[in-house]
């Protein structure tokens, strides 16, 4: 309280504190008397001095030699310094979070500006060239082929801008999932079909190592297809000289991961693993690959939103994504998705699968 002993002796709580506060202290005293248990409080009491004060009070019951209650012993510790340090730390952390948010916004703006600038420049040059031709030679004298080629170029550049904006929207907006029973193997196969040409161009050999039974979960097949396609494209681009992409699926049983994740039987997950034999990525890059606008593919080759959007989709499915990589040996991505608990038995999975095959 910051007062000398002489001013404290013989006084009660109500002599120092407003009634409400003194009543609260007295309530604590009664609680200690009735329960016999010690009580600790951390409070900022109103004091007669001007300085801020935080105290920790410990109250314990004091009994005489016969075991009768003789009073309460209170220990009060001035913890103002500790509280101030905590407040300062909290304030420093808030400032840090704010700074990180600003840095992210800055990266976003720089990324968008950079990526949109190139197609915009292409559109401007095309339009300027065509306008110049029309002015100099007259619209009727220009070969229709020139019009078509110019407009096709404008269309391609506009589509690029559209793709970038779509990626941004997908990144910033919560994705609305259209969930239904989904055959994971079918989604992987469809993604591979769509990317067949790209896989061939990159001379990538795809090995499917699928679980022997059907894996059916409740998911948005289109969004999952987007994730799988992103991972397949990334794998292909990581193997410019060709290589192997192994896609393995399994129903994850409690095992090593169970010790890591404290997983029980009810938390079974479907695991889809994409392992390439490509260049691999450094540990530093690995820590940034899910960040928006981060890309290892070089300027102009990628917007750097694929993995951050994929991560958002997986997160919305209640799943997780795992990455490991060794420079020069390859990279593995594992997508883990929770099994719909209503469909945990293999029998149900097979029944659903058969129904799907029959086109019902």
């Amino acid at each position: 309280m910051g007062l000398p002993k002489e001013q404290l002796e013989g006084k009660t709580l109500w002599d120092f504190y407003p009634k409400d506060q003194a009543d609260a202290y007295w309530k604590d005293d009664l609680e200690v008397i009735n329960s016999g248990q010690p009580k600790r409080n951390i409070i900022e009491p109103l004091t007669l001095s001007d300085r801020a004060l935080w105290v920790q009070t410990d109250k314990i019951l004091y009994r005489d030699a016969s075991g009768n209650i003789a009073g309460i012993i209170g220990f009060t510790l001035d913890i103002t310094g500790r509280k101030q340090a905590e407040e300062e730390l909290k304030s420093a952390q808030e400032k840090l979070i704010q700074a990180e948010k600003l840095a992210t916004v800055g990266r976003l703006a720089a990324g968008v500006a950079h990526e949109i600038n190139n197609p915009l420049a292409a559109i401007m040059i095309s339009v300027q060239r065509l306008t110049g031709l029309i002015k100099n030679e007259g619209a009727a004298n220009i070969d229709s082929e020139v019009y078509v080629k110019t407009l096709e170029l404008v269309e391609r550049a506009t589509n690029n801008c559209k793709r970038i904006v779509a990626g941004l929207l997908a990144f910033s907006r919560p994705i609305k999932l259209q969930s239904a029973s989904t055959d994971i193997h079918k989604v992987v196969e469809e993604s591979l079909e769509v990317l067949e040409d790209q896989i061939k161009v990159h001379k990538v050999r795809v090995v499917n190592d699928f679980a022997p039974h059907l894996l059916i979960i409740k998911a948005d097949k289109y969004k999952l297809g987007e994730v799988f396609s992103n991972l397949i494209v990334n794998a292909c681009e990581a193997m410019p000289e060709g290589g192997q992409l192994r896609i393995a699926t399994r129903l994850q049983q409690p095992g090593t991961e169970a010790r890591r994740e404290a997983m029980d039987e009810a938390d079974k997950t479907v695991e889809i693993k994409f392992s390439d034999t490509g260049e691999g990525i450094s540990d530093e890059d690995m820590f940034k690959i899910f960040d928006p606008f981060f890309s290892t593919k070089g300027p102009g080759k990628s917007v750097g939103l694929g993995l951050s959007v994929s991560y958002g989709i997986i997160q919305q499915h209640g799943g997780a994504i795992e990455v490991s990589s060794q420079k020069g040996k390859g990279t593995t991505f594992i997508v883990r998705l929770p099994v719909d608990r209503r469909r945990t038995t293999e029998q149900q999975e097979v029944t659903d699968g058969n129904r799907a095959k029959m086109g019902c």
């Binding site: 890591r260 820590f287 997780a320 490991s324």
Partner: protein
């Protein structure tokens, strides 16, 4: 031949796995791995805050 212990790091629903101890300490030094990130290696019964894992404490201390 004894294999090097693998370390996994979890941040939200992202897991960066199969890192070596050297990689983990380098990531701490570069400020990429934070004390609040979760970490696991064989022998631990579940995820732990990186700042609370004994082997890593000296490396976080160095940053302070």
């Amino acid at each position: 031949m004894a294999t090097e212990q693998r370390w996994d790091v979890k941040r939200g629903s992202k897991i960066f796995s199969a890192l070596s101890f050297g990689q983990v300490t380098r990531l701490i030094a570069k400020g990429l791995l934070k004390e609040d990130d979760l970490i696991w290696h064989s022998g631990l019964s579940g995820w732990r805050k990186a700042g609370e894992v004994e082997e890593l404490k000296p490396f976080f201390q160095e940053l302070k």
